[in-house]
């Protein structure tokens, strides 16, 4: 294993420290428990948006903290969910009295740790809500499984819901918006190389020189299937069609009911895409694939959307939700309405995403 790191145990804290040194005007970093938070937190009168998850997906989440996006992010060890004390302490730090929304990627570990954090925060009288992101169409059958994983839509949700906080949305409004973003977003990923978790010291999986993994997650999990390497156009078409033609997806998720102070089951169904829809197209690098290759993918994706009658009104292209140095990419399509689009366009200033300011 060759990486630009020092001691294995120091990888995450040193990266956080470097980020704090690089962007002191935007973020601060708290250690023990670890979390990144807005330099100007708590932001008066605004609902705090908090996310988190394993490290190794940078810039998500720590690099997406700042004006117009997250108020705090809780990084776990590499590819490992953070622990409840992190989210709990972060919530205390950035809560301005208007409440806290946890945006949680749907992985068993993340879900359970954020649930325990929500219970701790609620017990202290903090208004708290949790919304799941579960957008990975590669996970097919979900009735008896952990359900779809949270992937690319998370980044788009953080941008849109973060802007809504800036605009003065209430906790309930923000939760409703986040839920809307989630059911309208669909993603799929693929890998052409593995990544190496520093603590493991060797690649998570072996992939022959002429094969790829389709339908991977963002933690070096094996994908849905392994197949012979194909051209960028073929890969893009396969993934784009899986996303665009995905049937309605129904599932039950648990959300914290702050009035009842208990967990309630919520039924959700993703409406399928249809001709005439406006979408944000997000082509994401897994970390090791350079942006130049993403343009070949975007070129074909734009073509397919065009043929399917989907109008790409905005795009995001680059490494935003990564798997360390893995080579590969993911595609996310998010159907947007005027509300989402307005918040997408709103100014944002974070280490990893910035415009309008």
């Amino acid at each position: 294993m060759k990486k630009l790191i020092n001691k294995i145990d120091d990888v995450v804290p040193e990266q956080l420290d470097g980020m704090a040194k690089a962007y002191p005007d935007i973020i601060k970093v708290h250690f023990n428990p670890d979390f990144v938070y807005r330099a100007d937190a708590p932001v008066k009168g605004k609902v705090a948006l908090i996310s988190g998850g394993g490290s190794g997906h940078e810039p998500m989440h720590g690099g997406l903290v700042g004006m117009g996006m997250l108020h705090a992010a809780c990084p776990g060890a590499v590819f490992t969910s953070p622990t409840p004390d992190q989210m709990h302490e972060a919530a205390r730090m950035v809560n301005a009295g208007a409440g806290v929304l946890f945006l949680v990627k749907n992985y068993t570990g993340d879900v359970m740790n954020f649930e325990m954090a929500a219970e701790l925060a609620a017990a202290e009288g903090i208004d708290v809500q949790n919304i799941l992101i579960d957008d990975d169409v590669a996970v097919k059958d979900s009735l008896y499984t952990a359900g779809r994983r949270g992937v690319g839509t998370t980044v788009l949700a953080e941008k849109i819901v973060g802007a809504a906080s800036e605009a003065g949305y209430s906790l309930k409004q923000m939760a409703d918006l986040a839920r809307k973003v989630n059911v309208n977003g669909r993603s799929m990923g693929m890998a052409i190389t593995s990544c190496t978790v520093p603590a493991a010291g060797k690649p998570t999986f072996d992939l022959p020189d002429d094969e790829m993994e389709i339908g991977i997650g963002i933690h070096g999990e094996p994908g849905q299937k392994r197949m012979k390497m194909k051209t960028a156009d073929e890969i893009t078409e396969m993934m784009a069609l899986s996303i665009i033609e995905d049937p309605p997806y129904s599932r039950t998720v648990r959300e914290w009911d702050k009035d009842k102070a208990e967990w309630v089951d919520v039924e959700l169904t993703d409406p399928p895409f249809k001709a005439g829809d406006q979408v944000i197209a997000f082509v994401n690098s897994m970390g090791g694939t350079p942006v130049s290759e993403l343009f070949t993918v975007y070129r074909k994706l734009a073509d397919i959307c065009d043929k399917k009658g989907l109008k790409i009104v905005r795009n995001l292209i680059g490494p935003y939700i990564t798997s360390l140095e893995m080579q590969g990419m993911s595609i996310t399509l998010l159907k947007v309405d005027d509300e989402m689009l307005k918040f997408w366009d709103a100014p944002v200033k974070t280490p990893g995403l910035r415009w309008g300011v």
């Binding site: 428990p33 394993g54 776990g76 060890a77 590499v78 590819f79 490992t80 969910s81 953070p82 622990t83 409840p84 004390d85 992190q86 992985y107 068993t108 570990g109 359970m112 740790n113 649930e115 325990m116 590669a138 996970v139 097919k140 059958d141 008896y144 499984t145 952990a146 994983r149 978790v197 603590a199 493991a200 998570t204 999986f205 997650g217 933690h219 070096g220 999990e221 094996p222 849905q224």
Partner: protein, 211 residues
């Protein structure tokens, strides 16, 4: 025969060692059907427990178990963190204030612990999770009580039941946790969480064999 506080502390200490030794093995199991961090996570958590142990090893068994659980909760992360955190916290609550445990106490503690895991993770037997190792171990203990088996032997039988449960996860298709994303591809691999659970129960049996 009973389990003294020192025995219990020794179990925790031996667990630290066993999980460290098996860290790579557990991680490999997790790499096959998960994300390759289970051994690393458990090792990190139990090292943190070892570091904090001097602060609370002179407390009662209930407090010790609860503190182990809280430490794991804030250091393991992933699915393992809340599950094993809950496991030890619930076990501790079941034997609050005790300075030594009978076979019945230990069985009650383990029963509560496993119920906590099920409450948190909603896994059923056969979902290819740690529950597949833990549940048979509890059932075996109750059977031993019925059959009036001695403590040492019961612990061994319980560990054997966990081992069988662990091995039996191999052909299963995962329905909970990260491995469930793999669908059919998860069959043919042993569940890492069931493996760590077996290792912990085997360590209990081994520790208290000479205890």
């Amino acid at each position: 025969m009973s389990i003294s506080r020192d025995d219990l502390v020794n179990w925790v200490k031996n667990s630290v060692e066993i999980l460290h030794e098996n860290s790579e093995y557990l991680t490999e199991l997790d790499a096959a059907i998960g994300d390759g961090d289970h051994g690393i996570n458990m090792d990190r958590g139990f090292k943190a427990v070892l570091a904090k142990l001097p602060d609370f090893e002179d407390k009662d068994i209930g407090t010790i178990l609860k503190t182990v659980g809280m430490t794991l909760l804030s250091t393991v992360g992933g699915a393992g963190g809340p599950l094993y955190g809950t496991f030890y916290m619930r076990a501790g609550m079941a034997v609050a204030g005790k300075m030594e445990l009978s076979l019945e106490d230990w069985t009650a503690a383990l029963d509560e612990a496993v119920k906590g895991v099920v409450m948190r993770g909603k896994a059923e037997l056969g979902d290819k999770t740690m529950v597949d190792a833990l549940k048979p171990a509890v059932d075996a203990l109750y059977k031993c009580i019925d059959e009036k088996k001695p403590l040492e032997e019961s612990l061994q039988i319980s560990a054997d039941a966990a081992k069988k449960g662990m091995v039996d996860t191999i052909p299963l298709v995962a329905r909970k946790g990260r491995a469930s994303y793999l669908g059919e591809r998860s069959a043919g691999h042993q569940d890492p969480g069931a493996t760590s659970s077996y290792l912990l129960l085997k360590t209990a049996a081994d520790t208290w064999h000479n205890g």
